[in-house]
Structures are given as structure tokens and as C-alpha cells.
Amino acid sequence: MSIIDEFIDRYHRLSRRRLMFAVLFFVVAAVSVIMSLGFGTYHISLTEALNTFIDHISGGVVDRKDDLYVWDIRLPRAIGAAFIGAGLAMGGVVMQNLMQNPLAEPYTMGVSSGAFLGAVLSMMLGFSVVPALSGDMAVVCNAFLFSLIPVAIITLVSRFKKLSPTAIILLGIAIMYVFSSITQYLMVTAEAETLASAYHWRVGSLSKVTWENLPFLVVFVTVISVILYTFHRKLDAMYSGDRCAQTLGVNPSLLRGVCLVLVSLMTAAVVSFTGTIGFIGLVGPHIARMFVGSSNKLLMPSAVAFGAAFLILADTVAKVSGVNGLPVGVISSMVGGPLFLYILIKKNRKVWM
């Protein structure tokens, strides 16, 4: 074998080895989806749950009630968890890369504060952007549309003025403050009960994921993630700054604009159904980065796999903890915070910057 072939071979071998991280977590995610069918407040053993699952696929439903819980409640929730975790992690990877900031996350542009304002307006004042809707659908729809306002403002502004990444982050924060101050005003002046229900909405729960809305989520996350993945080489070039990226044939402002809109759409779709699930979008990419490096070709699938596996596991714990137990957003931060801290110290190496 010539030296060059050996070099190429070694590169591919290394890539494959790093990609094992992604494969491992994909397997964990897939297994967790199946296993999580056996966990929840409704008592059914894991084997029974799996049997019910297999029965449903083969077309012979034995116990209607078991089938309702396993097939209609648990399965969409588990699949939803996988896609939501994957989408948030993907969004985090792209945001950190675009903003050249390790603290960027899918919510950096003010998506979550927009969604929350939309939801609160609907819950407290009965305001709905789409007039025909009411109740839960109005909340979801409001949240979705409001969460896109910040990115719309920033896109509009960037047409008139060239914005650096820091300026975009700062503008995002300014918009976030405006939105959350209005929300706070509404929350503080609201009745205690209304405040409580709004607060519960924000904390984030996957219980609202059903077969009806799951396709919407899956399509958004899958299509946008795939589009973002096709940008992986362009995004790699962005690591070395806007100027260098340009000399490598990438239009930095255009790429940033397009990616911001895509990430915001994806995050909006997730947040409007589940509320704000923190941690994964910020820390998921960093954990994957520690194992596979920053090359987007490997980082993107790894972060996606990690995010999916992590959120299903967190949601399984949430389900086990009972109806009034821990919300999934709380679990993901409660476990993830220390985990991240541990890895940071243990690895004792520069995560980024």
C-alpha cells in the first residue's frame, strides 16, 4: 500500500472509530424507545408491554386497555422524545458553530421566550393569532408563531445592516428581554392558578406528544436536520471566521441567515409542543464534541444520537417518578449539569476556545 493510500485509509478508520460513538448512542436510543414502553404510571410489565407492542404490529390486539397505553400513549411519546432530543442537539451544534460561541444554543435567538409569550397570551388573555382556534391548539399555534418573531426581526435588521455574530446574540438577548418582561408582567398580575398552569407549560413535558401531532414534529426535525447536515462542510469552514470562510467560497452572512431560520423553525416546532426543555441544546453538542471532535460530519450525527438517547432516558425517569413527579426538563438539567461538570473536570481539556 502506498503512503497516500495508507493516509487515506487511516483517515477513514479514525472517522469510523469516532462514528462508533454515534452508532452506540443510536442503538441506545432505539433500545430505549422500545424499553420505555414498559415504564409509566400505568402498571404493565416490560414483557407484557413488548407483547402488546408485537401484537399490535401483527394486527392482533389482545387487551384494549394495554394497547391504548402502550401503542397510543407511550409509543408516540417515546418517538417524540427521540426526535426532540435529536433536533435540539442538532440546533445547538449549528448555533455554536455559526455564532462562534460555545454558549450558544437553539434558544439563543429568543425562540423559547417568544413561544412562552405566545402561550401565555393564549392561556391568560385568550388571544389567538389564528382566530378560528381555541384551547390547546391555540396555545400551540400561538407559541409556534411567536417563537419565530425574534428570528424574523433579526433577519429583517440584517437586510439593512451587516451584523456580526456577537451583534446577533446581543440582539437576540434584547428581544428575549422584551418578550420575557411582557410575560413576567402577565404572570405576576395573573391569578395564582393561571400562573401555575403557565409555569407548568414552560417547564417542558412530553405528555402532549400524540399520534396526531407526532408527524408534524418528525417531519420538521428530520427535514431540517438533513438540510443542515448537507451544509456540514460549509459549516466547518465557518470555524475559522467569516473572512476565511469567504475565501473558501462560503458566503458567511447568507449561510448564517439560512441556518438561523432553519434552526429557529425546528426549535419552534419542538418548543410549541413541549415547552422549554433546556440543557440538551447547549451541553449535548459539547459532550459529543469531547468524544468525536468538531468536524461537523461526525459531530452532527453524534450529537443527534446523544440528544435522542439522553432525552428518552430522561423522559423514562420522568414517567417513572409519577404524575406529580419530576418533569423531563428538570431531569435533563438535574442529571446533565453534574454530568457535564464531571466530564469537564475529568477530561481537563479545552472544550472549545
Partner: protein, 360 residues
């Protein structure tokens, strides 16, 4: 910028900049005084603004008024309802702004604020533990139990940072990452407690979290004031070192600054300063992040001037926001501040001129 032709021009330019700094300082201080007057009149409207100043001055000078005279009533009203609130606003505004400026230089990051290492979520954790679970240190109850809990809670994250600082690089990036991880952890605990409690307790806890000056009394002032005076003196004393730090870690080391140790010491000072405010007022956001930026945009980024002027500016903003909060309706001051302040911040980012302390 034009080239400087002569030494005279350099001198005039220097003086012009000094004048600008002085102007910002004077506007802030005068602003505070004006708002104090307005505040007093709004609580007790049978005196004019000038009389209100007279009454405050008399009280400070120890002049006694005849019982039940107009002055006596005015004195009681102003001194017991307005002043603790105003003094708290001034102290808290100054302290949070100084801490914010310190944090931004320390972390070399324009997005850092006093809460960046998890102080706010730690404080919430302490306070809400008292509020929801009734768990307090020394089994103090009610308001004081909450204050002590919040104070101690806010120091936990910094204590953890200091404990593990030996085992990790004390670079701004890793400190912020650690702070973020800690914030996430403590906020998740807070969220958990908020979710399991009943609606009324949640409402109380939420209002505490948003931050308000309604509950401040004279008893709160000495600790806040003392810590702020000592802390800000310390910060100003270090402003030269902070300037050196802005050159980057490696350069700062060659200029004789023990960067890691300096960062840890500053972090500790900042934590105590912020904790002493937060435990009484809840987490008032926005100010610590934005006040230093506003000042930098106006006068440039020399820390020797930024810190004192940011303190004056912070005090002014908070007093003004509190006045508006009280006169419009009973909205928490934090809400008012962000509703008014964030559009201004937005505009400043967009239309700032290059040259003066650009944020980015």
C-alpha cells in the same frame, strides 16, 4: 479618526473625553436626586418637591419636627416608606452594575453578568426552599429565614467553582461553562419545587424570582450597604488589574498578574456583593448585564472609569425603574426595567458608532 497633529490637540481631546465622563456621572447622580424627590411627592403629595428635599435633609441633619405637624407627617411617610426603598434601589443598582462590569472584564465576555456563575439560581434555590419546603438554616422563619437561605444559597455555586478550580483550567470559557452547568442544576431544583407546590406558593415564589423592592425595610439596608461599599471599593482598587486582564491571559501574566488567583478572588468578592443584594430583592436581571454596556458605549472601556460611572448609572436606572413601577401600578421593578431598557439596548447595538467602547 483624524491623526493627531499637535500635542495641544491631544490635550484638548483628552479633556473633551474627560468632560464626557464627568457629564455622564453628573447626569446619573442628578437623575437619582430628581427621582428621589418625585418619589417622595408621590407618597405624600401635600409637600412640594423642594420641601421634600428639605425634609430629607432635615432628617439626615437630625432636625426634629413638631409632632403631628405637616413636616412631621411628611417625615414619617417619606422616611419609612420611600427612603428604604430608594436607598435599597441605589445600593442594589450600584452594586449589580459594578459586579456586572467586573464579571464582563473577568470573563472577557460581553454577555457575562453577575449571575453568570449560577448565583441567581443558587439564591432562588435557597429562597424557594424556605418558601416551599420551609427548610431554613437555624430554623429561622418567615422573611429572615428566606433572606439567610437565599444568601447562603447564592454562595453555593461559587463555593463549588472555587473547590474544583484546582482541578480544571481557570479560563473564562471553562468558568462560564461550569457556571452554566451549575445554573442548570440549581434551576432544575427550583423548577421541581415550583412544580410540586400549590398555586399560591408558586405565585409568591415566582414574584420573588422576578425581583422586587417592595419588601425592603430599613433592617435590610446595613448589610447591603456595608457589603456594597467594601466590595465596590475593592473592585475599583482592582480596576487597573482588570484593564491588564483585557489584554488576554498570557499578556496579563507577563505583566505580573497571577491571573488564576486574581479571577478566583474577584469571583468571590463579586459573589458576596451580589448575594447581599439578591437575598433581599430577588433576582433583578438586566441591570448587571446592560448598565456596564451602556456606560462603555458612552465613555469607552477603561475600567478605572467604567466601574464608578456604571455604579452611578445603575443606581439611577434602578431608582427610576422602581419609581415607574410604583407609580404605574404594582409591577415588579425587574419587569419595568426590561420593558423600557431592552428597546434602548436594542437601538444602541444597532446604531452605535465605532470608536467609543464598542460592544463587539
Amino acid at each position: 479618526m483624524n491623526p493627531i497633529e499637535s500635542s495641544d490637540e491631544l490635550v484638548t481631546r483628552y479633556h473633551r473625553q474627560a468632560l464626557r465622563k464627568l457629564l455622564v456621572l453628573v447626569v446619573s447622580v442628578v437623575g437619582v436626586i430628581v427621582v428621589v424627590g418625585l418619589f417622595s411627592v408621590s407618597v405624600y403629595d401635600s409637600v412640594s418637591i423642594m420641601e421634600a428635599y428639605g425634609i430629607i435633609w432635615d432628617h439626615i441633619m437630625g432636625v426634629q419636627h413638631a409632632p403631628r405637624s405637616t413636616e412631621w407627617w411628611a417625615d414619617r411617610f417619606i422616611w419609612n416608606t420611600v427612603m428604604p426603598r430608594v436607598v435599597a434601589a441605589i445600593v442594589a443598582g450600584a452594586s449589580l452594575a459594578a459586579a456586572g462590569a467586573l464579571m464582563q472584564s473577568l470573563m472577557n465576555n460581553p454577555l457575562a453578568d453577575p449571575y453568570s456563575t449560577g448565583i441567581s439560581s443558587g439564591a432562588c434555590f435557597g429562597a424557594i426552599m424556605a418558601l416551599v419546603l420551609g427548610l431554613t438554616i437555624n430554623s429561622l422563619s418567615g422573611q429572615s429565614g428566606m433572606v439567610v437561605n437565599a444568601f447562603l444559597g447564592s454562595l453555593i455555586p461559587v463555593a463549588i467553582v472555587i473547590l474544583i478550580s484546582k482541578r480544571m483550567p481557570v479560563s473564562p470559557a471553562s468558568l462560564i461553562l461550569v457556571g452554566t452547568a451549575l445554573s442548570y442544576f440549581f434551576s432544575s431544583m427550583v423548577t421541581y419545587m415550583m412544580v410540586i407546590t400549590d398555586a399560591d406558593t408558586l405565585q409568591n415564589a415566582y414574584i420573588w424570582q422576578v425581583g422586587t423592592l417592595d419588601t425592603v425595610t430599613w433592617e435590610s439596608i446595613p448589610l447591603m450597604f456595608g457589603v456594597t461599599v467594601v466590595g465596590s471599593a475593592f473592585v475599583m482598587f482592582l480596576s487597573r488589574q482588570l484593564n491588564i486582564l483585557s489584554l488576554g491571559d498570557a499578556n496579563a501574566k507577563t505583566l505580573g498578574l497571577d491571573v488564576e488567583k486574581f479571577r478566583i478572588v474577584c469571583l468571590l468578592v463579586m459573589a458576596v456583593m451580589t448575594a447581599s443584594i439578591v437575598c433581599f430583592t430577588g433576582t433583578i436581571g438586566f441591570l448587571g448585564l446592560v448598565a456596564p454596556h451602556l456606560v462603555r458605549l458612552l465613555i469607552g472601556s477603561d475600567n478605572r472609569f467604567v466601574i464608578p460611572i456604571a455604579m452611578a448609572m445603575g443606581a439611577f436606572i434602578l431608582v427610576l425603574a422602581d419609581y415607574i413601577a410604583m407609580s404605574v401600578s404594582d409591577v415588579p421593578v425587574g419587569v419595568v426595567m426590561s420593558i423600557i431598557g431592552s428597546p434602548i439596548f436594542f437601538a444602541l447595538i444597532l446604531w452605535q458608532k465605532k470608536g467609543y467602547g464598542t460592544v463587539y
